[in-house]
Symmetry: C2
């Protein structure tokens, strides 16, 4: 391992140049005019895998942007790890807020600025460099390695579930290592053990055939806004307790062990309130802030509209009112079942005089949870503890990263998140950057991790 | 009186020509480019008052469109009646839906088509013709008459309250006759005895300093939409019962006499439901449809909005949500007091974690009610009964016509509505028309009414 780290240390400026080259490809997956750039990034990644010593490198069609594959499978008896990453990036607007052009990466004050620096071209390259270094230093890897690098993470990986399911053999593995991740701070590592699922509905309430004069008709007909308001207020309290009949049925209770683990992570309430500009935090009674955020489901209204929205007064009974609702789910909730629960609840609470329709929204992700003592976590945790001199926090995220659940359900393998981003690095925003110190740390971390994983016997 | 009716009958074609001329003036009060046309209509009306024999005819400035005044005050001991009308009209769009140009009036199938025909140039001219006829036939009127013809009814008479208050002496009277009104049907007269008042508020709920990622923040902060929904659902049930603390305090109960009078007016539920396209009527429990519409207050949401209103999904906790609320008021509710009641209720029901603001809306009208047995109603009712061979229905309107309350509060005089429009005459819509048969009936009705009023001693 020392030899591997020395190898990387000896080619640092070359590695950074490679990263600058990779960052200069504007592989924006959401914009059709950059489709060819996404292909160029795929080709760049494939070539980099080859030069690192990976075998069977291929660019595979998915129906959308391509996937890059490569493997090294000469460690019989050792685990097979699938390293996941993506080479696509977010759009760059508002362009005028960038201090330097997003696809002309620059190094300033120990930071590499450019779109995709933190999310996640540096992390991707570090994982490849780690594999290359161990291979060069030892002539072999202690584990079997496969790479799955995709080009459409930033648009929600629409083709990935079917693609992985159709290529189960190729991607079969004991563990997924996602290079797309974050640490808690420069001094404090973390292991991400839970991600929420998601689903949603739109509620459409309709009354008369057109808006009505409120004076002539208001006392005689249902008002779709009040019908909608009645339905919504039956679904959740303003404080955040969900009142949808059956919603909590499949929710795995927060165990004492969960509470203890979550309580081990600090939460600075004042700093948090200041950062988002609220005077008071509000949430489900009976849980701490981080318990609510990490281990309890939530139901939110994302939008509501109906009737007259202009300046001034228009005395109508509107003939329509609508709401968009999304939920964040925890184990063992299933998004399809939750949608049916929501639909049944809304129908049951539809008042007379209006028609109420429920449409499932185009967001559906299962919750993901990896046991904190899973061997992948234990080994990654040992590496992080050695690197940082501190045990990692066991964290969860209120958001959803579908890929973890896709690998779990399609490949039967858990994902350990092992990335070196930090939360202040402006991902999805102007002046995205990545720290050179993180790059350096990653050059040590990945060889260490591969070694440790090689000690495991599945 | 026979002589008066004969006089009008002898000049019918002249009178109709006068109406066609009046209708050809495009006196659209809401459009600045027609300001001069409104002045022309004022001049036309003033000239017509003069030629009818009215005295002291004047065009008076109001700060907005002018008022036309004229009087005949030589009936000592007899009542003084103020005849109210307006010579402005609604805009004409959508122009392409008119069968003939709106300001080139045409007679087809016994109907006069043109903007302002039913609302209300025919009714205005009929009232003047009635006065002229009695004056010509008898050489004198049985009552003292004043005219107040305004040019901004269709924009809400913004200057009228102050104008009437500043001219109390000039307009002092025992009774107002509004020529701007409707009968129930061609065979059934009505007396309008009640109009609702109105007021409103906008509720603005604000949370964080910007929209938030619902996964990262939804479980920790108040959602302004659910905060708004909680407030709204505390204000009214979907069925229409108002739950605002104190809202009903000043509501005059529906008496047995009210119930009996209202029950005397037919309401065709099936026909009504079909006309507006609803399958079911919904309203405050414990009251009939017409009681709800005519004698009970209502609170409606006219618009609601907040968060993401586009296609698809955006998983945010929005940082704002808003609702527009208006109320229809009955005696003895006061719009200013109701606004304070609403404001106090909303503030009391504001949940934690958001700021809630209440703005009063730019609509404020007091309810109006004239006792059914008021002498003006008794005498007008007798005329209608004689004309139609049926006693008039005692009706009310769910809408608000501020002028009645303005005259009551500024002049201390009740308004009797005495117009001959019918509800199918497309007012405010393309192909507005007025029936020649109604014109003819009006030529009989107004001389009869003036005679009857002359018998009253104030």
């Amino acid at each position: 391992m020392n030899a591997a780290v020395e190898y990387l240390s000896g080619r640092r400026s070359t590695s950074v140049d490679e990263l600058l080259e990779f960052l200069s490809i504007p592989s924006v997956s959401s914009l059709p005019e950059h489709e060819e750039d996404v292909r160029l990034a795929a080709a760049w990644a494939a070539e980099r895998l080859r030069s690192a010593g990976l075998e069977h490198v291929e660019i595979l069609p998915t129906g959308g942007h391509p996937v890059v594959y490569g493997d090294w499978l000469h460690a019989p008896g050792a685990p097979t790890v699938l390293i996941y990453g993506h080479f696509d990036v977010q759009p760059v607007d508002p362009l005028e807020l960038w201090s330097s052009p997003p696809f002309e990466p620059q190094i300033r004050d120990g930071r590499i600025y450019g779109r995709g620096a933190s999310d996640m071209k540096a992390n991707l390259l570090i994982s490849v460099l780690g594999v290359e270094a161990v291979l060069r230093a030892r002539g072999a890897l202690p584990v079997n390695v496969k790479f799955l690098l995709e080009g459409q993470e930033e648009i929600g990986s629409p083709q990935l579930p079917a693609f992985v399911a159709a290529n189960r053999e190729r991607f079969a593995c004991d563990l997924v290592l996602s290079a797309d991740g974050f640490q808690w701070s420069e001094d404090q590592p973390q292991l991400l053990i839970g991600l929420k699922g998601a689903c949603g509905i739109q509620i459409d309430v309709r009354g008369a055939k057109s808006d009505l004069h409120s004076g002539l008709h208001g006392a005689l007909v249902a008002n779709p806004i009040f019908a909608l308001v009645g339905i919504l207020s039956s679904m959740r309290t303003p404080e955040g307790e969900i009142r949808v009949d059956g919603f909590y049925d499949d929710v795995r209770p927060v165990s004492n062990a969960d509470r203890a683990a979550i309580a081990g992570v600090p939460f600075d309430e004042e700093q948090y309130k200041n950062s988002i500009g609220v005077s008071e935090l509000v949430g489900e009674p009976g849980y701490s802030h981080l318990e609510r955020s990490w281990a309890r489901p939530m139901l939110d209204a994302n939008g509501v509209w109906g009737g007259f929205l202009g300046e001034g007064v228009k005395t109508i009974v509107p003939n329509e009112a609508h709401a968009k609702i999304t939920c964040r789910l925890v184990p063992d909730q299933d998004p399809d079942r939750v949608i049916e629960t929501l639909r049944a609840h809304v129908k049951r609470h539809a008042p007379p005089g209006v028609t109420v329709e429920v449409q499932a929204a185009a967001v559906r992700a299962k919750p993901y949870f990896i046991p904190p003592d899973h061997w992948g976590n234990r080994l990654a945790g040992a590496v992080l503890t050695e690197l940082y001199g501190r045990r990692p926090y066991l964290t969860r995220a209120g958001g959803s990263i579908p890929v973890c659940e896709i690998f779990l359900s399609r490949l039967g393998a858990y994902t350990v998140s092992f990335g070196l981003g930090l939360e202040d690095e402006n991902i999805h925003a102007p002046d995205e950057f990545f720290r050179l110190s993180s790059f350096e740390r990653g050059e040590t971390a990945w060889p260490m991790l591969l070694e440790r994983l090689g000690e495991h016997r599945p």
